[in-house]
Structure formats: C-alpha cells, structure tokens
C-alpha cells in the first residue's frame, strides 16, 4: 500500500551540484507530475508525463529535466543547482480515464525538502 514514494526526504546541495529526486508509484497510474512549493506559497508545476516515454513542460521547467522510461518511475533531475531551487518538491500521480468512486484523483508523495547553499 505504498502509493507515491519520493526519495530523498531531505537534501542539502551546494551551488552548481546536480542531483536526482526519485519518484515511484505502484498504482499503475499513467499521469505523473512534479511540483515545487516555495515557503508559504502555492504549487507550481515543473513537468508532467501522460505515460511512459512522454513528458511535457509545466509552469517552471527551467533548471530541471525529467524522464519516464517506465510507468512506475518519474525521476526529476536538477542540473547546476541554484539557491532559487530551494523548495519542497512533490511528486504526484493520477489515472486518466478512471471514473466512478475514485475518479481522477491525484495522489501526492510526502515531499522532498531541498536546500541549495
């Protein structure tokens, strides 16, 4: 009953370093998303994917890259980390076309707290 799993939960990066945030879901969802949430602010969509092999830019894609080689995994890569990327990152997934009692509900991971110094 894992749902959406993100790792790591906390990370401190130095300016210019790179890292990958991992995200996996076990619900066979076709849609996956990456959001960032700055302190006291709302969600901003970074990238999303409608299925394996397909990714699209969201609202704030600069400085990030994603890949979707499998249905389950949707890693987010930060290249050349900058202080402006200090944020909480949420991965999420949903199932397109599921109607009825669950509908098109989106499920979130617990978040990854990233600090760039």
């Amino acid at each position: 009953n894992a749902g959406v799993t993100q790792t790591p939960k906390f990370r401190i990066l130095k300016i210019g370093q790179s890292m990958t945030l991992q995200c996996a879901q076990d619900m066979n969802h076709n849609y996956m998303y990456w959001y960032r949430q700055d302190p006291g602010m709302g969600l901003k969509l970074i990238y999303y994917s409608v299925g394996a092999g397909i990714t699209d830019k969201g609202e704030v894609p600069n400085g990030y890259n994603v890949s979707r080689s499998t249905t389950e995994d949707f890693p987010l890569r930060l290249e050349l980390a900058a202080p402006s990327q200090t944020s909480v990152y949420f991965c999420a997934s949903s199932y397109s076309g599921a109607r009825g009692s669950s509908g098109n509900t989106i499920y979130f991971g617990e978040g990854s707290w990233l600090t760039v110094v």
Partner: protein, 110 residues
C-alpha cells in the same frame, strides 16, 4: 485554456464563523472539480470532489456552471481547519491532466 483561480492568498476567520474559500475556473467543456487540503508539513490530500456531492469535515462545495465557480464552504470554522486549500480541475476525455489553483491559506483565529 484551462485555468483555476483562487483570488485569496490568505483568509483569516474567527473560530465559529462561516468560511468560504473562492474558486473560479475556465474550461471549455465539463470539467471535474476538486478541493485538496494540505495541513502543516504534510502532503496534499483530497478533501472532496464535485461529482461525489459529499460533505467532508463539515465542508461542502457546489459546482456552479453558470458562474464557473466551485467555492468551498463550512458554516462554523474550527481551529483544526487551518491549512492550505487548493482548488483543482481535471478535464474529461483526451486531456485529463489535473491543474491546481495557487492555493488559499486558511487561518482560523481563536
């Protein structure tokens, strides 16, 4: 284009007073509307969906297609309602991507 607008960034309400969090949307067809809630340092979770027509934790939301609104209401605010609330929209048919509003922080005053 799909768009969800939450006009209030912060809403402060006294305990026991009514609460209304506003949400307006723009969508060319018949969307599915949701409210999500995020309590302090927790992940977002679904609060309610318009198609369920349910009341969760005393909250209700009615879809008004004429005004393209989906406002969240509760008659008597409780301190545990303090949280970040997001209105979200999902299309039907080919594009089911879910988009969120910017969120409204609800602060219940004692």
């Amino acid at each position: 284009a799909q768009r969800v607008t939450q006009p209030e960034k912060l809403l402060s309400v006294f305990k026991g007073a009514p609460v209304e969090l506003k949400c307006n949307y723009s969508y060319s067809g018949s969307p599915e509307l949701f409210w999500y809630v995020q309590y302090s340092r927790q992940r977002l979770q679904l609060l309610l969906r318009h198609i369920s027509r349910e009341s969760i934790k005393g909250f209700t939301a009615d879809l008004n297609k004429g005004e393209t609104s989906f406002h969240l209401k509760k008659p008597f605010a409780q301190e545990e309602d303090s949280a970040m609330y997001y209105c979200a929209l999902s299309g039907r048919g080919g594009d089911d991507k879910i988009i969120f509003g910017k969120g409204t922080r609800l602060h219940i005053l004692p």
